[in-house]
């Protein structure tokens, strides 16, 4: 495929409106996902409090798209990915992959899920086994699922080439002999070894230098086209998420506060937190420096989140209703694709800035 042809395939409409691309059935449906971690303390190490890491998260991922998930520390985005990969056991929630319920009687088992969904971890020395040559690390997955050793190695070598590393030169190397970008390519190859359809990328480029980050992003886009993948891209870096995602989901303290097509969310953010997050980005233009921080204070811990809307303690528009009632995630605009959880955007909520009840959204 020539570079020009490849570029054409990657180009999408500037406002990110890409929902019409694929079939109607979502690849992944998540409903009311919940995970609380106990905080141990006291004499007998009993549970004294709970970290409400993920508290009723619901969303969908369409086949072939890139869903970006952004949020700050404590928002629960990494925990969500691990729950969906079943590396952590959810307390509650329904996960439906390609129409099959996870754990349901005639649905999908966890082992089957693992063949369909894989994860790329953040680069660190802990992301690859330091005692194994990288080829063996990649071949481990296929061997677990029954592929004979020789074939698994063959597939591993093929994947090394696909991620741009010559198998003869890199196959037998150990992680400590590779640079950050190369290790991340191995991470990606390992995730693709089981030929999944959905890939979770948990801060996959965050630890890399900027110049290497660009190379790996290009690779991710290429691989997505080549293998017809769907990505869930988790990051705290808003620019990268803007670049690579079709839709974006914003999380705060274990809840989804906004979701929608990336162009729409970035140019017309509906939730005050999203607005603050977007304007917190340092500008590269020295003439447009900020004078006031958009948000004061630190993100609270998810141990005892505020009642009602969790953002109300830092929100400039918080009112009495915000402490009483938790705002539901409601759509507005065309086809309701862009949703936010804010009383100001929900007609008849009782907030002074909301439209009166009965108004069309």
């Amino acid at each position: 495929m020539t570079a020009a042809a490849r570029m054409e395939k990657v180009a999408i409409a500037p406002d990110g409106g890409a929902l019409a691309k694929s079939s109607a059935q979502p690849l992944l449906i998540v409903r009311n996902l919940r995970k609380y971690f106990p905080v141990k303390g006291g004499l007998l190490n009993r549970s004294v409090a709970q970290v409400k890491a993920v508290d009723g998260v619901s969303f969908q991922v369409m086949a072939g798209e890139v869903l970006g998930i952004v949020g700050e520390s404590g928002c629960g985005k990494s925990t969500t990915a691990r729950l969906l990969m079943h590396l952590l056991t959810p307390d509650e929630g329904e996960v439906i992959f390609d129409g099959l319920g996870l754990g349901a009687r005639d649905g999908m088992t966890v082992k089957e899920l693992r063949r369909n969904a894989q994860m790329v971890f953040q680069d660190s020395y802990a992301s690859l086994n330091p005692r194994l040559p990288v080829e063996d690390t990649i071949a481990f997955g296929p061997m677990v699922h029954g592929l004979p050793r020789a074939e698994a190695k063959q597939r591993a070598r093929g994947l090394l080439e696909d991620v741009g590393l010559a198998p003869e030169r890199f196959g037998r190397r150990y992680p400590h002999e590779l640079s950050g970008g190369q290790r991340q390519r191995i991470n990606i190859a390992r995730a693709l070894a089981l030929q999944p359809r959905l890939v979770f990328l948990d801060e996959a480029v965050s630890a890399l230098d900027k110049s290497v980050e660009a190379q790996v992003l290009n690779l991710l886009v290429d691989l997505k086209e080549e293998f017809n993948l769907t990505y869930v891209f988790i990051s705290h870096d808003l620019n990268v998420v803007h670049y690579i995602s079709d839709r974006v989901l914003v999380m705060y303290l274990g809840k989804v506060v906004e979701v929608g097509p990336v162009g729409s969310v970035y140019s017309r953010p509906a939730h005050p937190y999203t607005r603050a997050l977007l304007s917190s980005q340092p500008s590269m233009d020295p003439d447009r420096r900020k004078t006031e921080p958009p948000l004061s204070g630190d993100p609270p811990t998810p141990i005892n989140p505020p009642s009602g809307c969790r953002f109300r303690t830092r929100c400039a528009f918080a009112e009495e209703i915000c402490g009483r009632v938790e705002p539901p995630l409601l759509g507005f605009g065309d086809a309701g694709a862009h949703q936010s959880a804010c009383h100001m955007n929900s007609a008849g909520s009782g907030h002074s800035l909301a439209a009166p009840a009965g108004t069309a959204a």
Binding site: R82, M85, L87, V110, K111, R114, R115, Q118, M119, F121, Q122, Y125, A126, S127, N129, P130, R131, L132, P133, T137, F140, G141, V144, H145, R155, G158, L159, E161, D162, G164, L165, A166, E168, R169, F170, G171, R172, R173, Y174, P175, H176, E177, L178, S179, G181, Q182, R185, N187, R190, L192, A193, L194, Q195, R197, V212, Q215, D222, E226, F227, N228
Partner: protein
Amino acid sequence: MTQVNAVRRPANPLDETRDRTPAPPAAAKESAVVVYKGQSYWSNVGRRLRSDPTTVVCGLIVLAIILVSVFAPLIAPMDPYQAKMLGRLAPIGTAGHPLGTDELGRDMLSRLIYGGRISLMMGLTPVGVALAVGGLLGVVAGYAGGWVNMMIMRFMDVFYAFPSIMLAIAISGALGAGIGNGMLALTLVLIPSITRVTESVTTQVRAYDFVDAARATGASTTRVIVTHVLSNVLGPIFIFATSLVSVSIIIASGLSFLGLGVSPPEADWGLMLSTLRQAIYINPMLCALPGIMIFVTSLCFNLMSDGLRSAMDVRL
């Protein structure tokens, strides 16, 4: 599902994928491609060990002691059980007895050589067995977490609460004297500390992303532990175990000294220390000899363990 390897991208010579380490010497161009064999962690460790003079020297000394013990029947000049009442406590340098004789007239050199067999066996075997048992328990406790971990570790804590030599004496006394019982007692004494170290290391390794990645492929727990966890956990445990060898030798000698391990007329350094006590006013150097052997062996194992620790501390 799309097939892997469907499209091959042409190699770009200026790509980021150009490696940073120098290329291996090029083979003939027409032949098959040169496969670069990486430098594994263990080969790095081996290299560093060989370049550390202290470790090498101590290793050679230990090797010498072991070889001498193994080939004792060939090396020892005389029968270690041959008593000669007239030649008791002959000083070092006596003709025919280069290291003198003990309180029953037996040749010291031969007894020291033969004594090494039992002392080493009582020192090394318990460590080996404890490593296997304690290591297994520790890995299970560390990987499983939760109540399994609690049960195993609290059980170990009970034994850990006793000072090791007292525990060894107590168990040995309850079981009765004898080499086998002595080794059993030592093994039981060493297991808790190995379990503790293993559990701690396993818990750390368990939290690493690559273990999660292995679980994410759908591998069974056993497979994940065997392929990914064990190789990373073995290093620190091995260091700890080698440092335990010196402790084990000393406790074993202590047991024999108290009459709980080896019984006469067996040659064993600890027992020799005990029986030679009476001669301390007559020929002090003779009494020191078994002690020196215990000291040297124990020290060498300890220094080797230190060398191993610093060799494995390599920042990769």
